[in-house]
Amino acid sequence: MLRFAATRSLQLVPLLLVVSLIVFMIMHALPGDPVALMLQGAEGGVASPERLAELRAQLGLNDPLLLQYGRFVAHALEGDLGMSVRFHEPVTGLITDRFGSTLALAFSGLAVAIVLGVPLGALAATRRNSWIDVASMGLSYIGASMPVYWLALVLILAFSFGLGWFPPAGGGTWQSLVLPAVTLGVSASGLISRLVRSNLIEVFSEDYIRTGRSKGLSEGAILWGHALKNAMMPVVTVMGLQFGAMLAGTVVTETVFSRPGVGRLVVNAILWKDYPLVQGCVLFIAAVYLLVNLLVDVAYAALDPRIVP
């Protein structure tokens, strides 16, 4: 088990390097002079050519690309992701200030997805082909086909402006987390419920279930004791992937609900052409995503007795 975890962790390193290379290359292929962009409107108005050249040398932009890339990686390893052009603050600080909020949102979104999806899928599996099955599958399709922002707006309309239960914007309180979490969770719950349903159906026909039945165990014990545990394993994988998708989904959700977060930071950085910030955010999110996938793989291996690591 440990060896498995170790090998997978080691594989992470070259992958991260390639990711950083891709990020670096794309950012440096972008149009626009980064130095000119940095000095926009600064200096009380006049950016002289000498100042531009001075700043360019200061930032090391005249060095060969390979050297610049090396410096980029070296700094990144120390936690320095450069300076934001718009905020005049270190990118790393901007990200860590907001990451807590995004994490909270992604976790609660995942929680909602599980709370909604697993029972729904289990219900559908046990009442297979009944109207409950059809209804719950229908709901899951709707959830997965809805634009995230649209669901957010509908929820705001109903529960904020309509009933006044939750705030329509902002962050910092648990109440402000509810609607965004539900928004995120609903679309993911569709996939989870369908997966739980089909896996449970498959598991129900497996040998050891029949053995359990013959032993006289109650339906309930069979379900909760054996079936669910075995059906959950691929779901764990999906949950991990969903977490990654959720990190992505926060992009829209944070914008609609005016919440602070890394997703919204990235979008604004792109709109503002704040390339150092875009670069840093992308690298950070990709690294987190890879880490999550690694953890999911390890968890999957730990849960599945059939995998020999």
């Binding site: 409107g41 200030d97 807590g100 402006f161 329509p168 902002g170 910092g172 602070p260 503002w272």
Partner: protein, 531 residues
């Protein structure tokens, strides 16, 4: 090392989430909601160019003087001021007995430190530096007298100094250039507590405040326990906050929220215009199609601005007519009759300029236009930062005239990038100030330099001499006269497209008493507020 810092910050963020401090607000804290697009990148007003930055800073750091609600300059940290007749030397007499929130005494050396920090190239001050002008020297005459010297006259220093936050020099030095934005120590009624990006700024009452702002009626500390500024991303949410009680004051309301409060006895409401250029769009006259004055005139006379106002904003905005809006003290009335709405005339102008309607219908194409191949369609692009619906409204109007009008919404840096590269036809340029010097800033070809604010490409020596006087003539009435001539010339040359002017709408809960609006719609004072 880095990991622990990272961990600390992420943990802090999560903890803050858990504690839900929004509900734990002290009873006497004034909650002010402001649109999120005014949230500054940094709260250090020396660096950041937003008016909202200086407004928030004024709560933490008193400036040398204030523009009182009646429109005159009154003392704050400075008791008196004067300039020599040439306008090249300004002397300020400072108030004794003032200390900063960290105990540092306030004196001429502190003022000198602040001004020098603004003009230092390392600070990269976006706007403040150009407001205070090309300072040659700052001299400490004695502990309470400071002299600011220029090579050329700088008559608008007062308008700048009313906004410059005076920070504590010890705090500035200790925190360093980039670290100061988390410290923000001044001599204002409130101390900086925290800033949560995209969310809020929290300030706490400073008991040691002396009530030095002339607007404040009672000496000593203010009555409020604190102020909390909330940045609200959605204007419909902003409009509902006072009604729901989630905020005490909501500023810069969208016109659509106005009917909720305007004649509603349950709330307080006011509308105040912002003198300045209004929402103007300047034209790039360097290249076709706008290098032809007839095309430019066609745009002005072919746009139905009152119609836009009625359609989009229920008639709540003010109609723009020229380079200054109608609440500006130096507004030129002649602008109203120069280009009345006349789409037929606009079409004729375009025909004369060689842009004709094809037989088959569709957009106008060039026929005998200099430097343009015959058959090229008439395409004009408008670049703007916000209020996209206005652009779309104009788009629909100009489509009737056969103009293919494209609307492009970009953020600030991209707008400036377009200007730099001269890649624009019509571009948004708005300045707000009751002083006509903004006309020089925008229209004097002297400022057609990288980072400068003259964008159109219009060059005329006589005109430059005329508008340049706005920097050197101290008498305000005379400056208004000059300003009116300037506006006339600009309109005769059809260098800009006026649209509308947006007043500031503010709604307040009835509990809020003592709110003072600044002479400028976008400013306010909370020194006398109780709730």
């Amino acid at each position: 090392m880095m990991a622990s810092g990272l961990f600390r910050r992420v943990a802090a963020g999560l903890m803050f989430l858990a504690c839900g401090t929004a509900t734990a607000q002290a009873a006497g804290t004034l909650v002010i909601a402001i649109p999120a697009n005014q949230e500054p990148a940094t709260l250090d007003g020396h660096i950041d160019p937003f008016q909202s930055t200086w407004l928030v800073d004024s709560l933490m750091a008193d400036p040398l003087l204030v523009l009182a609600p009646d429109g005159t300059y009154k003392p704050d940290l400075a008791l008196a001021w004067e300039s020599n007749p040439a306008g090249t030397v300004w002397t300020f007499k400072l108030r004794p007995g003032v200390t900063f929130q960290d105990g540092t005494p306030f004196n001429a050396a502190a003022v000198k430190a602040n001004l020098e920090r603004i003009i230092d190239p390392k600070t990269q001050s976006a706007q403040m530096k150009s407001e205070v002008g090309p300072i040659k020297s700052v001299d400490v005459v004695d502990d309470l007298t400071v002299r600011v010297g220029y090579d050329t006259p700088w008559v608008t220093l007062l308008d700048a100094m009313r906004r410059v936050p005076i920070w504590s020099p010890t705090a500035m030095e200790k925190a360093g250039l980039n670290g100061f934005a988390s410290v923000l120590v001044g001599a204002g009624p409130f101390t900086f507590v925290r800033k949560v990006p995209n969310d809020r700024v929290d300030l706490k009452k400073w008991p040691g405040y002396g009530g030095w702002n002339s607007v404040q009626k009672k000496p000593g500390a203010v009555e409020l326990d604190g102020v909390s500024i909330r940045w609200i991303g959605s204007s419909s949410v902003l409009g509902s906050l006072v009604q729901s009680g989630d905020a005490d004051v909501a500023t810069f309301l969208d016109p659509i929220s106005v009917p909720d409060y305007k004649d509603n006895k349950a709330f307080q409401f006011y509308a105040k215009d912002q003198a300045g250029t209004g929402l103007q769009f300047v034209m790039n006259i360097r290249k076709p199609p706008l290098d032809d004055i007839r095309v430019r005139q066609a745009l002005i006379t072919g746009s139905d601005r009152p119609g836009l106002n009625t359609l989009l904003y229920d008639g709540l905005f003010a109609v723009g007519q020229g380079p200054l809006n109608d609440v500006h003290p130096c507004y030129w009335r002649g602008a109203e009759t120069m280009y009345p709405y006349n789409p037929t005339k606009a079409g004729q102008l375009l025909d004369q300029a060689g842009w004709v309607l094809p037989q088959a219908g569709g957009m106008r194409v060039a026929k005998g236009v200099k430097n343009v191949a015959d058959g090229t369609p008439l395409r004009i692009r408008m670049t703007m930062i916000s209020r996209k619906e206005m652009g779309e409204g104009l788009q629909a109007q100009f489509k009737q005239l056969g103009i293919d009008f494209a609307v492009e919404v970009v953020p600030g840096p991209v707008q400036l990038d377009r200007v730099q590269k001269r890649e624009f036809d019509l571009i948004y340029e708005r300045q707000r100030s009751p002083d006509p010097v903004i006309l020089d800033q925008i229209w004097n070809s002297k400022w057609e330099v990288p980072g400068g604010w003259a964008w159109t490409g219009f060059k005329d020596a006589a005109f430059d001499a005329l508008v340049g006087q706005l920097r050197t003539v101290p008498d305000f009435a005379k400056r208004c006269e000059i300003a009116r001539d300037v506006q006339k010339t600009i309109m005769e040359n059809a260098l800009m497209l006026p649209t509308l002017s947006d007043p500031v709408y503010v709604a307040m809960s009835p509990k809020v008493k003592g709110w003072e609006t600044g002479a400028e719609g976008n400013w306010f004072y909370v020194n006398n507020v109780t709730k």
